[in-house]
């Protein structure tokens, strides 16, 4: 019991707990929107694209979050401009920009001496190193993103499910897409202190992908996704605290474990569970739901069986 209670007396742990909880909540919700839209690659791209912003802010001694935010804005704009030319497909533009941005970050970084531990914090997260200012900023941005999602949920759903019909009804689908891009960018930015630049994509995608295995409804999917992200984040934080290992890494491994278990055993969707449900002894007895009547016009047809 002490292993769970004792850390709560440590200010750094409590700050990390609040930070991680806020991030898990917003990542679970926004991740659901990204997964149902099939935009996992976009989340990954944004995560890579903020890297130079973070590195430059770090070297300049400014706020990493502000650097990340600026980089995300620049990238999102560039992506919109590139895809305006219809010969450049979305995924192509994403591929071009995110590798270029990451390369810029690497080049800038290589010119400066940087402490390995600090680099690790940028890449893989360092929630226990979060300052009170970091936590406040994270909670405020996370709350703003959640409010935006609640307000925009209906347009986001309509634009994703049936963009043609939504546009015919007068919904500005392009503006809704831009809003989703901005929401994703903000989520990636506030998440990187908790799990780091490289691992943030796992917090966005994996809980939502796991939740999708359990439900066909959007809101339950969001709730479940948040629950998985929260549980894994808190567990990861405790392990990271006690074992002095990478918190971000443990969080991602726990989430991935839940995903794999669900992929195997989720009722109706897990492959082992589905096979078990289809086993002969589980099939319902009694009359089937439909009957087949075979009417063949030519008598020769009835004589011709499969060879």
């Amino acid at each position: 019991m002490h292993a769970l209670v004792d850390p709560l007396g440590d200010g750094a742990f409590v700050r990390a707990l609040v930070d991680v909880a806020a991030v898990a909540t917003v990542a679970g919700v926004v991740g659901t929107l990204i997964v149902v839209r099939g935009l996992g690659f976009l989340g990954d791209a944004l995560a890579h694209a903020i890297f130079p912003g973070v590195v430059i802010a770090f070297i300049a001694g400014g706020s990493l979050l502000v650097g990340a935010l600026l980089a995300a804005l620049v990238t999102a704009t560039l992506m919109g401009v590139l895809t305006a030319n219809t010969r450049v497909r979305d995924n192509t533009a994403i591929g071009v920009i995110f590798t270029a941005a990451f390369a810029l970050g690497v080049v800038v970084l290589s010119g400066h001496a940087i402490d390995a531990e600090e680099l690790e914090g940028i890449l893989f997260g360092d929630p226990l190193g979060a300052t009170a200012g970091d936590v406040v900023l994270t909670v405020v941005v996370a709350a703003a993103v959640l409010v935006a999602v609640v307000v925009l949920l209906r347009p986001l759903v309509a634009a994703a499910f049936d963009p043609t019909g939504a546009r015919a009804m007068g919904l500005p689908v392009l503006a809704v897409d831009v809003a989703l891009l901005a929401i994703t960018a903000l989520t990636v930015v506030v998440s990187f202190k908790a799990v780091g630049n490289i691992l943030v994509i796992a917090l966005l995608i994996t809980p939502a992908a796991t939740a999708r295995l359990y439900t066909d409804r959007l809101k339950p999917m969001m709730g479940l996704s948040v629950a998985i992200a929260l549980a894994a984040s808190v567990a990861g934080l405790y392990v990271g605290y006690h074992r002095e290992t990478s918190t971000g890494g443990v969080i991602v491994l726990v989430i991935t474990g839940i995903f794999l278990a669900s992929w195997l055993f989720a009722p109706g969707a897990g492959i082992v569970a589905s096979a078990w449900e289809r086993r002969a002894s589980a099939l319902e007895g009694g009359p089937p739901e439909a009957e087949a009547e075979v009417l063949l016009a030519s008598p020769e047809l009835t004589a011709r069986g499969p060879h």
Partner: protein, 229 residues
């Protein structure tokens, strides 16, 4: 009312100078061979494509101001069927233009959705995920969405493709009911015409008669002939 409509993608002009004045209660079928621009014209009427030239008016006002009065039933390829929504969620989307995009549903919206589900005979499927439905049931769900929207104009892109006979008949009954209530129906179709009025699209150089005969519906008198000038 379509006035000298010209539509195209990029620099390609697909159709030029289409005009039609469609009265209330009319069912107009856009017919023509593949590649003559049936869906393109329908999308232009729906305001989904920028017009190169021309205007579209509904009751004397530009279509852009009247979007909530226009229901659009897309082809099935344009919908993401894996998206986690129930049949009821889909039909409720028809209420969004009336409801605004941000307000919660009111009792009248709920009852309009119930009535639309009832009218298409899919009330028992309301809680199902859309992917679990047959092709005919999916089309019914989208037409129920159009019913729930209570529009003045219904635009349908190939409404009869890939559906069962019962759904086909149900849609025809609904067309009649809509026409009696003075709604305008425009469908793009490569199949049956279900009404007197047509916009016949033909390739450049193809004679008008040939295009109509090709559509085996040339015996009707009141064509709204679209001339591709």
């Amino acid at each position: 009312m379509l006035r000298s409509l010209t539509v195209g993608y990029g620099r390609r002009i697909i159709l030029r100078g289409v005009s039609a004045d469609i009265p209330r209660g009319e069912l107009v079928s856009i017919v023509g061979a593949n590649g003559t621009g049936k869906s393109t014209l329908l999308k232009a009427i729906a305001g989904l494509l920028p017009l190169v030239d021309g205007t579209i008016e509904l009751f004397g006002r530009p279509i852009d101001e009247m979007r909530s009065h226009v229901a659009y039933v897309p082809q099935r390829e344009e919908v993401d069927w894996s998206f986690p929504v129930s049949v009821r969620d889909v039909v409720m989307m028809g209420r969004y233009p009336r409801l605004g995009w941000f307000r919660p549903a009111r009792a009248e919206d709920e009852s309009a959705v119930d009535a639309a589900l009832e009218e298409l005979g899919i009330a028992d499927l309301a809680r199902r995920h859309v992917r679990e439905l047959s092709g005919g049931q999916q089309r019914r769900a989208f037409i129920a969405r159009a019913v729930a929207q209570e529009p003045d104009v219904v635009l349908l892109d190939e409404p009869m493709s890939g559906i069962d006979a019962a759904t086909h008949d149900r849609i025809l009954e609904l067309f009649d009911a809509w026409r009696q209530r003075g709604k305008v129906i425009v469908q793009a179709t490569h199949g049956d015409v279900h009404g007197e009025s047509m916009i016949v699209l033909r390739r450049r150089g193809e004679p008008a008669e040939a295009a109509r005969l090709a559509h085996h519906a040339a015996d009707t008198e009141e064509h709204h002939d679209a001339r591709a000038r």
